[in-house]
Chain length 513, copies 2
């Protein structure tokens, strides 16, 4: 048993079952160890941004970490944007970042860099192994650290000699730390504040939005309290029968207007809401003047239990009236975000997973799936586009019996388009929808909002994706994924319905412009 075996077996002993990888020379021992650890499923991705996004999607659905395999600083660098999303989603995830052999590091070989400095910002835990046995111990520590609470990426830097040297043993099995239950005082304070308020509101973060948290939220809503969730959630169970909180508006001034009159804001599994971006003369903090803030549970505490306790303290009914299943009519005519959303709501099967990187085009689907069949919605928690296809890869590996639908703006999909290849290779049951408006539409809006005036020709050229238009059908087929372009609502409805009854990867380009 060498260090790589010890790390691999320790990861497996601690419950890790999937390895998303784009390895290089310094990771060959770890690759070899995969053949000696049948509990671990290796999944090759053509780029490390696909690796980290897949591990994020996997962790959100599985509730336990996948491991990534990355090649030194540049390989980790390529994974940064989706690691950032994973950090913001509190997704349990373990990075194994290969490095030069310990004794080789001082020579500053071409691929050497300061991996620690690169990895720190998006790692909740990062350590570099000093020996094979140390690596095994750190592998166990990394899995434990990835659960937090709150969870997030834990990065183990694995020098090549720690992988190839003999190990005397595996690392331990370490229990994950659980989220602390809310204190009675916090529950009492929140209940008291709500009772004394004219317009109380509870703001729910990702950790509050599990099945039980939503059930408790529905009970609280029945007492007349507004229930709202963060704009982007790691994973939200949705559909008929489930309570669906309102959503914090994306633009700060819209949020403040929506919150007008709210005099108590109770925070459950989240922190004080802030604007996604600052703008000249716009608020940073999305709390109305004079509104009291009360923390029921922070991001590391058990917000679901806290909400149930709050519901009890408020004397809420034992269950809220469920929403009945209600599906949109068959859309006809011009294809647009609304018609696409209707078709998705109509045809997606029970327990579909939606990986959302749709930027300006997804709202039609958000709205129309509220009372559709049960599904989980994975949001862009960190704002780093390029998550939609990779997270779908990971979700499909985590949940092989569930249909996955990946919603993507065309600008976002271009970031990590190589992920299509892994869908084909692993025959994953994912339908990728590309909203092809051939522009960074969000930036047209933002340009105006930042007070930049009207875009001149140079600026307009940087917001435009139409010259040339990307042919998504051609690209998908190039990566081995069957694809179709849909130019009417009726055609999309038909093609999407067929994708939902079939199995395996498929891409549909929505011709929006």
């Amino acid at each position: 048993m060498n260090g790589a075996d010890a790390v691999m077996q320790t990861l497996a002993d601690n419950g890790v079952r999937a390895c998303f990888a784009n390895p290089g020379t310094s990771e060959m021992q770890f690759v070899a160890a995969l053949d000696r650890e049948p509990r671990m499923r290796p999944v090759l991705c053509l780029f490390e941004g696909v690796v980290s996004g897949a591990a994020d999607g996997y962790g959100r659905m599985a509730g336990h970490p996948a491991v990534t395999l990355l090649h030194l600083g540049p390989g980790y660098g390529n994974s940064v944007a989706n690691s950032h999303n994973a950090r913001r989603a509190f997704t349990p995830l373990v990075n194994v970042i290969g490095d030069h052999a310990t004794y080789h590091q001082k020579y500053d070989a071409p691929l050497a860099s300061d991996i620690m400095s690169l990895a720190k910002p998006n790692s909740r835990w990062v350590k570099s192994a000093k020996s094979a046995d140390d690596a095994a111990d750190l592998a166990a520590e990394a899995v434990q650290a990835s659960f937090g609470p709150p969870g997030g990426p834990a990065s183990l830097i694995l020098p090549a000699d720690c992988a190839w040297s003999p190990a005397t043993r595996k690392g331990p099995v370490l229990a994950a730390k659980t989220r602390a239950p809310p204190s009675g005082a916090a529950v009492d304070a929140a209940a008291k504040a709500i009772r004394g308020a004219k317009k109380p509101l509870v703001l729910m973060g990702s950790s509050a939005c599990g099945e039980e948290g939503l059930a408790a939220a529905g009970r609280i809503a029945a007492t007349g309290v507004r229930m709202m969730a963060d704009t982007f959630l790691a994973r939200q169970p949705r559909g008929a029968g489930r309570f669906s909180p309102e959503r914090m508006q994306y633009f700060g001034e819209a949020a403040i207007k929506d919150l007008d009159g709210v005099d108590v804001m109770v925070l459950a599994g989240t922190k004080e809401p802030v604007a996604f971006f600052a703008y000249p003369n716009a608020p940073s903090v999305l709390v109305p003047d004079g509104c009291a803030e009360v923390t029921l549970a922070d991001q590391a505490e058990d917000a679901e239990t806290a909400l149930a306790a709050l519901a009890d303290a408020l004397g809420a009914p034992s269950a809220a009236a469920p929403n009945a299943l209600s599906l949109p009519d068959r859309p006809v005519g011009a294809i647009d975000a609304r018609s696409v959303g209707a078709s998705i709501a109509r045809h997606m099967p029970d327990e579909t997973i939606i990986s959302d990187d749709s930027v300006t085009s997804g709202m039609g689907t958000v709205m129309q799936t509220r009372t559709a069949r049960h599904h989980d919605w994975l949001g862009l928690t960190g704002g780093a586009i390029g998550l939609g296809i990779p997270a779908a890869v990971g979700a499909a590996v985590a949940c092989p019996d569930r249909k996955v639908v990946s919603l993507n703006g065309d600008g976002a999909a271009a970031y990590t388009v190589q992920g299509l290849w892994t869908l084909a290779r692993e025959k994953l049951d994912v339908t990728v929808v590309i909203f092809a408006n051939h522009t960074y539409r969000i930036l047209g809006v933002e340009f105006m909002r930042t007070g930049s005036g009207d875009p001149g020709p140079a600026a307009a050229s940087l917001l435009d994706l139409g010259n040339p238009r990307v042919d998504w059908v051609s690209i998908a087929r190039g990566f081995g994924v069957p694809a179709e372009r849909c130019e009417t609502a009726e055609r999309f409805d038909e093609v999407f319905a067929s994708a939902m009854t079939g199995k395996g990867p498929m891409l549909i380009e929505v011709a929006l412009a």
Copy 2:
């Protein structure tokens, strides 16, 4: 004039002429400023790894920096791998990394991260602006810092409010610091060591391999001294009439064997040679036992002048006998790396630029172009694959009148395939060659070398790109680039010849397997 204008104009005043960009909300003011600064050419890329690779290729050819425009930590993260290559190439390059407004940073909004920690490892200079006027001053400082010596990426973090607030003035114009000439003592010591040696060798780094350094190297070689260059050079002028140094072998044991008996190694614009990777029982330092090392010029000094002085001190002839133009015969039969190299050597026009990310497939072209028409060869200095297409984008923007040939392994090309779109959009005169062997061939070699045994099914699957095979013609067309697949040497010779006489982007898939 706002801060973005002040930064933009300061960059232009300091000689920056191209902006490779993938902007977001926090960079909209900078985008708007492009319309008020006609000296700056904006070039949109669909991914930040293309941005940084393009800026690297531009800087290597132009000799002065382009500016990148990147969106906070995740956008910078996506640029890391090619920034790493640029750092190792000592390429002058200025990053402008947008950030949240200064007053908004404390709220830890979704896109916030520790940009400084991310940027430090691959930046020779990194600062964050505090105000609009400060940003203008730092823009000038960044350009100056990017020249070094030695040069490299300089990163200016630009908070959104520093861009949108009024500026009272532009920043200064700062002169680049020049490389120090070699000391007479260093030249004398090197000459003396060479005269006293049985088998002296001069090792040349990127900064020694300009036109004048190579001419001096040819003179020194004429005195019987072996002249060798680092394995990967930022930019090497090559072809008939130019001296072509030997190349340090990639694999350490081959290098040591090749250096057998060398008793003096003179370092010119480089440092002690080390193995690209460590392997069990293989050397880290590529210097034979007992060989004396003498530094003629370090990486920040003027190695070209130093070589000329050394040639004088050795009493070398005033010029070496030039190699005559000599082109390979038309290749016939099966297509392989050698036949492709022959066709490239035969047809590439004078002053072609070769952007090389061909991993195991490029050696055939290296060998056969030695006496071809004049060309510049841009190597993979940092070992981070995914540079070939992006660097070609940048080189073509820097040198619009020169033909660019981009050589890519298929694994490498998949990293930054979105770069094809910018070739189409900007109608750049680039021919992209994809060596499609449908495997990470280098890793098959490395797997064995690291002592990992024979790959089992799991390991083999992580080295294989053949399931499914990427259809590069389909992908290129999807991004708007005309493409052809060539399955014989004759057909490649024909298609490549036609690409060399035509203008604009083209992709050729070499069907190696």
